[in-house]
């Protein structure tokens, strides 16, 4: 399965490199822009950004679902992404000249605080009604989002905010996405912790009796989720549903042993985002539909299908 997914991703990468306004043929591309420059400045960064964002968000979603023990939670529906946007807004207001690194740092901090608040509150909801957690998450994200909009409105930053709140890759060029390589480190860290995360999904009591430092692991998971979401919000904006749909589909087919499935989750996340980006580029060629919009249309259908399935199985 891993091989199939890897092959699929490779094909998509090639397609993504080939698709664009400027023709990519060995002879013709030389007119305006040398082939190598076109690839290294624009196509390659864009493709890599989609792959890294997809993988990172899918893994973040998987960790989030493990921490909340709820299948319907992901960073963009639990206030993580909105908190990250709030962080970006704060930096922009108080330190307009700040570089992208500082922005990512503050956004990560805010995402951490916002997600921690969500997690600590969500635990107080009754566990026998699992649908309340995502419901709370959606509204909580909405409340943080309203706060973000308010601040942006007061400071004439609404248009600026739009860029962060709707994920798209059209602005990704060399020099503007390298921060995303941190996602590789974070995914690696998640892979190292995969066994412990699998045990954590059994619940606090079980995990503790099996020798897991539950609080510590929760903190580590929180940091991983927050930093990954914040990075993607800083570089490409809010990309919905990846963290929700991919872990659900993978665990439906391959079960919940994260050591085996986590790499697959990362791969499938990359496939989903990259193909959404390609679809967005093709649908109205040469204009583009943002990847956030494409996923916003496809995601709900998969989500509804998932909850209806869950209901049937229950």
């Amino acid at each position: 399965m891993m091989k199939g997914a890897g092959l699929c991703l490779a094909l998509l990468v090639i397609a993504s490199l080939a698709i664009g306004v400027e023709d990519l043929s060995l002879s013709g591309a030389g007119d305006r822009l040398p082939l190598l420059d076109l690839l290294s400045i624009s196509r390659m960064p864009r493709t890599l950004a989609a792959v890294l964002t997809g993988a990172g968000l899918a893994v973040a979603g998987q960790i989030m679902q493990t921490l909340t023990r709820n299948r319907f939670v992901e960073p963009s529906t639990a206030g993580t992404a909105q908190s990250a946007a709030l962080g970006i807004l704060i930096v922009t207001l108080f330190l307009p000249s700040a570089g992208i690194g500082l922005k990512a740092l503050v956004a990560s901090g805010c995402a951490l605080a916002g997600t921690a608040l969500f997690l600590s509150t969500a635990h107080r909801l009754p566990p026998e009604q699992p649908h309340l957690v995502p419901l709370f998450g959606l509204v909580y994200g909405g409340v943080v989002g309203a706060a973000v909009t308010y601040v942006a409105w007061q400071n004439d930053l609404l248009q600026y905010l739009d860029i962060w709140m709707n994920g798209e890759f059209s602005g990704v060029l060399r020099g503007r996405y390298e921060l995303l390589f941190f996602c590789v480190l974070l995914i690696a860290a998640a892979l190292l912790a995969a066994d412990r995360l699998t045990i954590m999904a059994l619940g606090e009591g079980q995990a503790t009796s099996l020798g897991i430092d539950y609080r510590r692991m929760t903190q580590i998971g929180l940091v991983l989720v927050s930093v990954m979401s914040a990075l993607s919000v800083v570089v490409v904006g809010l990309v919905p549903f990846v963290g929700l749909v991919v872990p659900n589909l993978v665990s439906r087919i391959f079960g919940d042993n994260l050591r085996g499935t986590l790499p697959l989750v990362a791969l499938c996340g990359a496939i989903l985002v990259l193909s959404a980006d390609i679809v967005g580029r093709l649908i109205r060629f040469p204009y583009e539909i943002p990847v956030g919009t494409v996923l916003g249309v496809v995601g709900p259908f998969v989500f509804l299908w998932l909850i209806l399935q869950e209901r049937r199985n229950a």
Partner: protein, 314 residues
């Protein structure tokens, strides 16, 4: 006694809000300024009535206190219809249509879609939290679809569509005021005549049927009323997700009576106080006129979360 006192207090507050809205900072040509403010006031009061009535009726027929038409995505549905019109007719065609016709088409489409989407869920008595979750996701889907359509049309036409997409209490679409007010009054009158029937419906499906209510027919008719009222408020000011929830929750706290005649009145008064009072306060006190919808969504979202946790503490 206490009940009467609260009612008198609400009426006084609403009257004060209306008076302040009309008179604060009144300058220049008096008759002209008053007429301008009067029209806007009428629009805001129509919205308060439409949202108050539709939310209370919707909560009665679904038998819950946290579900509202906007949370279920009905206003997103109306906007999707309007963007669809721009898409099919082109920006010029859309602008040259009379506003009344556009409203009528939109309202008719909304009623049809609401029946198609909500009717099966209501008839089958779907689990409340599941329905909520599905509703929020469907609302998100229609927002994304609207966004997608908007991207597929020309930028100039996009501007036309966008005007209908943002909630704005400071500049309601007053060209629709006459038809909107007429629809609201007719539907409001109809609901008032049926207030006793609604009192029976509020007892729940089994009791209501035992008491001789033709349940399916009654629910269907009231669902149609709700969608008409949602069309009115969305056409006038755009979508405000949590306004209905806010005033319905306030009304429920402020009146011990479960009779619809009383709840309708109290919800309407709360709506006027929040909308007209809030608008006056923001416009003249805080110097920012356009952000009321954001503030309402922020506070309304918090109320939703409190209700969610409050409901399960009991």
């Amino acid at each position: 006694m206490r009940d009467r006192l609260i009612l008198a207090g609400l009426i006084a507050l609403a009257a004060a809000a209306i008076l302040a809205f009309l008179t604060v900072n009144l300058r220049g040509h008096l008759a002209f300024a008053l007429e301008l403010r009067g029209v806007r006031l009428a629009a805001l009061m129509t919205v308060a009535l439409a949202i108050g009535l539709s939310t209370v009726v919707f909560q009665t027929i679904t038998g819950n206190r946290i579900l509202t038409p906007s949370i279920m995505g009905l206003d997103a549905l109306y906007q999707f219809g309007q963007t669809g019109l721009v898409f099919t007719l082109g920006g010029l065609g859309y602008v040259s249509l009379s506003p009344q016709l556009k409203f009528t088409v939109g309202a008719a489409a909304l009623m049809l879609l609401a029946i198609l989407i909500l009717w099966p869920a209501l008839k089958r008595r779907m689990d409340l939290s599941l329905m909520l979750l599905a509703g929020i996701v469907i609302g998100g889907l229609f927002r994304s679809l609207t966004n997608l359509l908007a991207r597929l049309i020309d930028p100039q036409e996009f501007a036309v569509a966008q005007r209908a997409m943002v909630a704005n209490f400071a500049a309601p679409h007053t060209d629709l005021l006459l038809i909107a007010a007429a629809v609201t009054l007719v539907v409001g009158g109809f609901l008032f005549v049926r207030r006793h029937q609604l009192d029976v419906v509020a007892l729940g499906q089994d009791s209501a049927i035992a008491l001789g209510i033709d349940w399916n027919r009654v629910v269907m008719i009231h669902l149609l009323c709700v969608s008409l009222l949602v069309a009115v408020s969305t056409a006038l000011v755009g979508p405000v997700t949590f306004f209905g929830l806010l005033i319905a929750a306030l009304a429920e706290r402020l009146t011990p009576s479960r009779r619809h005649a009383r709840i309708f009145l109290v919800a309407f008064l709360c709506g006027v106080i929040v909308l007209v009072g809030g608008q006056t306060l923001l416009q003249h006190g805080l110097g920012q006129a356009s952000t009321l919808s954001v503030v309402v969504d922020f506070i309304g979202g918090l109320v939703f979360i409190l209700l969610l946790f409050g409901r399960h503490r009991r």
